[in-house]
């Protein structure tokens, strides 16, 4: 399933003068017809969403709660942490800088939008790590870093935690900065993983 969105990196992208500049090829790196492709893993039945056509590509992979528990248990973390993280709607999240210019993202700027239209903040890695530190745990890995500047060839991955239940639906609004431009995109109708993988 492919859902494409055409947009530009400047606020008034549709202005005729900017379109002329585009035609001249000057703004080409800032413009693209971006797409969101949803796929279903044939082995697990779990879904993923992957964007293409932007300077920052983003991939979201559903992660079932049992897998989250396994990951954190295997790190030797206290059961309280294991239970807390796995109670969230977790996605494996992969980000790539696909261009030849640096860009930066900040998870604190991202929002998930529930069907009632309410915009929610995503619980960040530093918020989790702060809680863990209060418990005497120095572990600070596996979650998507709060913010990163990706230079050419840079990429990263980690869990993002959405405060929803298995199977819940939402739109993800994410953004990044490149040069003087801020880019904001929305992946619509993302679904939290079910309690169990459909094909397992």
């Amino acid at each position: 399933m492919t859902n494409n969105h055409c947009y530009m990196g400047l606020g008034e992208a549709g202005h005729p003068r900017l379109l002329l500049l585009l035609f001249a090829g000057l703004l080409l790196p800032l413009c693209a017809c971006s797409s969101v492709q949803q796929q279903v893993n044939p082995e697990s039945g779990l879904s993923s969403w992957k964007t293409a056509g932007d300077s920052l590509s983003l991939e979201l992979l559903q992660v079932v709660p049992d897998y989250v528990r396994a990951v954190y248990s295997a790190r030797g973390l206290p059961q309280e942490i294991v239970d807390a993280v796995s109670s969230y709607c977790v996605f494996g999240t992969i980000l790539h800088n696909t261009t030849q210019q640096p860009l930066a993202y900040r998870v604190a700027d991202w929002r998930y939008i529930t069907p009632d239209g309410v915009r929610h903040r995503i619980k960040t890695k530093s918020q989790w790590v702060s809680e863990w530190r209060e418990m005497g745990v120095a572990f600070r890995w596996s979650l998507l870093p709060d913010d990163q500047t990706y230079n050419v060839g840079d990429w990263g991955q980690g869990f993002t935690t959405i405060g929803l239940q298995p199977g819940d639906r939402f739109d993800l609004e994410y953004s990044w900065h490149q040069g003087d431009a801020t880019f904001t995109r929305t992946i619509r109708d993302v679904r939290c993983a079910p309690v169990q993988a459909p094909l397992q």
Partner: protein
């Protein structure tokens, strides 16, 4: 916003022309962000040169046998510091290429230090036994992640290239194909500084 089918673009009025132009330019073979996008499954190879190289944070960490390794002891060598963990998929993917790089340039002044995060030597030893190519470079242990914090590492893997004076010259966030010719070229240029 536009919905794109293989050969049909449905844009609203505001963006229709933009989509059309972008599509035409793409068809004409002009580079677009989409065209530049690399295969997400492929490890990249670029290292970012730092505009103002700074002294790397010094550290002393034990290896698999408990022997201490001080970064300072490697002055005069080019050092690749790689922060990693066995549970990190791109870290696992880049490990064989890291060994191939070390085999290629280890005899010419390159030191590789793979600094593991939050794991114990027994676990890591078991992991290295699963690899087709056993790492011959030192694997060091940073159990409380204090050294990675000193380097400002936010995610794994992250790698740094240090020059012979112990200054951080390059950084790479995310997995790399360390045996890519471009990586080798970058390192050889550092090795040839003296």
């Amino acid at each position: 916003m536009c919905a794109v089918h293989p050969f049909r673009h449905h844009c609203n009025n505001h963006y229709r022309l933009t989509c059309l132009l972008a599509g035409l330019l793409a068809l004409a073979g002009v580079a677009t962000p989409a065209a530049q996008a690399q295969d997400d499954q492929a490890l990249s190879y670029q290292f970012t040169p730092l505009e103002a190289p700074q002294a790397a944070p010094d550290f002393v960490l034990p290896d698999m046998d408990g022997e201490p390794h001080a970064l300072q002891d490697y002055r005069g060598k080019v050092v690749l510091v790689n922060f990693w963990a066995t549970w990190c998929p791109p870290c696992r993917r880049e490990m064989p290429a890291l060994e191939r790089l070390y085999q290629q340039l280890g005899g010419q002044g390159l030191v590789v230090l793979a600094v593991n995060q939050w794991e114990d030597p027994d676990h890591v030893f078991a992991y290295t036994g699963e690899l087709n190519v056993f790492p011959t470079f030192p694997i060091l242990f940073d159990p409380d992640s204090s050294v990675s914090a000193d380097f400002g590492v936010k995610g794994l893997p992250t790698s740094f290239l240090l020059d012979q004076d112990g200054r951080v010259r390059y950084r790479a966030i995310g997995g790399r194909a360390f045996d890519h010719p471009e990586v080798e070229r970058t390192i050889r240029a550092l090795l040839e500084r003296r």
